[in-house]
Symmetry: C2
Subunit: 291 residues, 2 copies
Amino acid sequence: MTQPYFKKIVIFGAGLIGGSFALALRRANAVGEVVGFGRSAETLKQAQQLGIIHRVGVDIATEVGDADLVLLATPVGQMPAIMAQIAPHLGVHTLVTDGGSTKCDVVAVAREILGEKIMQFVPGHPIAGGEKSGAAAARADLYQGKKVVLTPLPENSAESAARVRLAWELCGASISVLTPPQHDEVFAAVSHLPHLLSFVLVHDLAQRDNRDLLLSFAASGFRDFTRIAASSPEMWRDICLANREALLREVKQYADELHTVYQALEKNDAAKLEAIFRLASEVRNNWTKNK
Amino acid sequence: MTQPYFKKIVIFGAGLIGGSFALALRRANAVGEVVGFGRSAETLKQAQQLGIIHRVGVDIATEVGDADLVLLATPVGQMPAIMAQIAPHLGVHTLVTDGGSTKCDVVAVAREILGEKIMQFVPGHPIAGGEKSGAAAARADLYQGKKVVLTPLPENSAESAARVRLAWELCGASISVLTPPQHDEVFAAVSHLPHLLSFVLVHDLAQRDNRDLLLSFAASGFRDFTRIAASSPEMWRDICLANREALLREVKQYADELHTVYQALEKNDAAKLEAIFRLASEVRNNWTKNK
């Protein structure tokens, strides 16, 4: 019998991200044992029943000492505490990766807490998810054909980066490599800004006296535009604050663009409005075709 | 054999909106004959082949004289010219309705062009559609369970308004009644503003040197938020201009809200950000549940 690529993996957070990672690796026969930690005993129990983890971890110190790979799949806000708990006990061959939506802040915290063991931390961000969360939402094919961004650090050995890359590839993902600042700038533009804009629209309508009337006429355009405004308030508060600098630049630039459109509308500038809408429409249609 | 509710209907524009109206009424055995006019001879021919219209109209004067109902299902910009063509020839029992996305401008034009025959015009707006357009996209069930807003005029008789209402109800729609200004304010908020915001986001990204890199990392949140930015530039230019006053108020208010969020982010005000996101998330989730 051949050895699996990873003898033992420890996941912190057995929800959608961590659970799907475990399921995918188990389905690929790429892992011998998955041990789960998390804040909710109930979620962990459910994750075990669903075949996500083999067992619920009890003692972090002993579990991370002989693990091949540790995945931090909790909200970013919980990562510092977990890093502090695992840092003293990480085996010399244990690699750590994460699934956080922001990277500069996670890397800064990791450098501070892991010290020299920062070389064992290869940061990552799987570009997959959905409105649903929790262990019950985890699926072995969540990452199939999806992108995972890795932001390896100068301290990582090529071999360490390759091992983390392999784990995600075994989940079916295709890997992109960016630096942490590149990552955060890209996602400020294509993810964090749209989320913020969507939240702001619904909040704007939600405060009005006639909100029920307005919402009764909202249709499919509104539904899709605001789907992401149904996301977790805590998670998005943390993402926005974690990526504050890049997001402030994005909001500023967007507000300037909006002002330009406002002025065109004020002046009845049909040609300008059409030019703006046309470029947007063309780029958006091409994006779908290239997907 | 019983008579159909409508002996003859004339539609201007046999695309998604007009074509689906005709298909629905034909499926309900509610119309004897559907005659189609439009700018594109090819679309009309296709509409005939698809069973949307019985025949392509040749002479507007003779066709609208004995029609029970005329539907204007063209872009709003084409309606003035059509109204001018039909006005002298409308039969005394011929009712006119439309499917325009804005109502104050259509009503103003109709008052000017139709003169005393304004009493025969019952304005409407079916809240259905999609990215696809054209005769091939028309479906008999497009309006099933959807809202149609009617904005009857003081000049309309109760019977005229009821006849137009009946036509849409036979298509499976549920009818809401608003005044034209109410209609335009509601749709500025829940439809026109989100479209404009979505266009602006894609335009913002489209102008950047690294746009291809950015778009390569855009995922499902971006996809849904920007789906409406793939809409027709000409149509949305016209809608924005037609509903300019209400839309300017909406953009102004949105920009103020965005500035508030910008400031909260600048000040690292976690509580405020979370409160804004939480209200939005709750309202959006409740909206889905009530759908």
